[in-house]
Chain length 321, copies 2
């Protein structure tokens, strides 16, 4: 038998999946990244995690056809190196593909995690059969992967799909990237929690305070819970986040005219309270023929989207070798 | 010998080019569209213009292999009909490809004019060899054509590349599309002229008034002339238009990570006084790896870009038939 390994290397967790020759995932396990321990330790954890999954599946290294790994951050597809990754500090310039190939002694394919997740949703998830689609991950940050004509669109350097850093409110909140008013600072889970805390700090949010306990513990989930219980201040925070997301989706729609936009990550599980105002703003701000034909739906593969995508890419890559 | 006809059908003019078997343009002529005369008359003018160019080239209809026509407006690539065209009122739902085929009795290919112009610049102009590029036309309005991996990217319905209707200033000036703050209302030649007139109407613009003569006659060119002569009020108008264009280009760059953006149309001929602030804003607002690798340059094919592009598309289309 021949097997493949698919890995999603994120800033918090390493997800490792073992697939059989037919692409079926046999085992998948999560490990902590411990990114703060630095590049060399994380590479050690990574190969250790792969060993552990192989061993749990009773598969020896010699039965492994290859490994696909998708990684958070800017991966330069021209030079096969990580350009920068806010979630993996110290990895700049690291030739991940080459290094992993030497450690595992099998063919290795590296891809950006947002692209791999979009490809997974396109092949197996909420974008199935939609040849032009975009998957947007709404979590701590906001990322995007683009499928055009049934293929991953990477752009000239591999940096396409940076939806989270579209500036939707010039002079808005300061972003981790150093700019102001990026979508990420207005529509991410982090942004919604920040607005909730601000509400408490300025003396408002009676309902929200009761639900969250206090400022320290407050998360985006608490804001959604308060809004669902009819709290208008919480609803206003969610509507504001949804408005800016809808505006940014209209940019994506005007430029790419996709059939579907799938939303993944934490905020994608919040239901109509969030999706309805997002769709409304999108329809109001996109150009009509494109805005009318696109649908905005939750992604369905959850945190497996990336490994499903990278395993399919790896299969194609091995065939073409 | 075998010949091809390439047509650029715009709201103001019809450009007709006759090309030989090698794709070389032998004759090209401009005719007025007279769009206000309505669909049936314009179709009559169009076929008449084609006849005239064939006759001027001493080419009979029987020597014609096919005709390619690019058209201003939303052309639905699924149903081969015009969805809407602000510049060609009354053409909604018109099956242009089919109708022209019946009139000319040769194979006909229809394409959106912005896509054809981008393809022309990609093959023969300022985007030559850049497999991911965008051409933006800055004239009365603002349009965009996208090339991904060396091919026209049309999106799901044929509506991709609508850069002119990215909302860059919510609650900004009213646009012809019914929305507010579209790029077109802030960075087009029309927008610059409007701001110039506003300056005169509010008692400013001494230099500009002298150059333009008065409010009625004022065009974008006058504003550029005043700015070149050191007028700070005129320079501020141009910098504002350039700022919003740079912001919108950053959206394009974050989403598509192109190698080059070519600017065509009237404003593309204004030189560094406009390009410098556009590039500056783009670099400041795009995400670094994509913003650093893209160049913004003037397109070089002028008004021939569309017919050059459509003639090449027609050649491929005829080969595949």
């Amino acid at each position: 038998m021949s097997y493949k390994i698919g890995v999603d290397l994120g800033g918090t967790k390493i997800l490792v999946a073992l697939a059989d020759a037919g692409g079926k995932i046999l085992i998948s396990r999560k490990f902590p990244t411990r990114a703060a321990d630095g590049l060399h330790n994380v590479m050690h954890y990574l190969t250790g995690s792969i060993e552990e999954v192989l061993s749990a599946g009773g598969v020896s290294r010699y039965e492994l056809d290859g490994a696909g790994i998708c990684v958070a951050g800017f991966f330069d597809t021209r030079f096969k190196t990580i350009v920068s990754s806010p979630n993996l500090p110290g990895w700049e310039g690291y030739p991940l593909e080459q290094e992993l190939k030497e450690r595992l002694r099998v063919p290795v394919l590296v891809e950006n995690d947002a692209s791999a997740a979009a490809y997974g949703e396109y092949l197996f998830g909420a974008g199935r059969g939609k040849r032009n689609m975009v998957n947007i991950t709404l979590g701590t940050g906001i990322g995007g992967g683009i499928i055009t004509e049934g293929r991953i669109y990477r752009g000239s350097g591999g940096f396409a799909g940076e939806i989270g850093h579209l500036i939707v409110l010039p002079q808005g909140p300061l972003c981790g990237c150093g700019r102001r008013g990026c979508l990420e600072t207005l529509s991410s889970g982090t942004a919604i929690a920040r607005e909730g805390r601000l509400l408490l700090e300025t003396g408002g949010g009676t309902v929200l305070r009761e639900i969250a306990g206090g400022c320290e513990e407050l998360t985006a989930s608490h804001v959604f819970q308060a809004a669902r219980e009819g709290d208008e201040e919480a609803a206003a925070i969610i509507n504001k986040a949804a408005y800016f997301l809808g505006l940014a989706l209209a940019y994506v729609v005007n430029i790419l005219n996709p059939e579907v936009i799938t939303l993944s990550g934490g905020l994608s599980q919040t239901g109509e309270i969030f999706f309805e105002p997002v769709r409304r703003c999108l329809k109001e701000t996109a150009i009509p023929p494109s805005g009318e034909m696109v649908s905005v739906v939750p992604a369905v593969l959850g945190e497996e989207a990336g490994v499903r995508g990278i395993l399919s890419l790896l299969e194609q890559y091995l065939k073409e070798m």
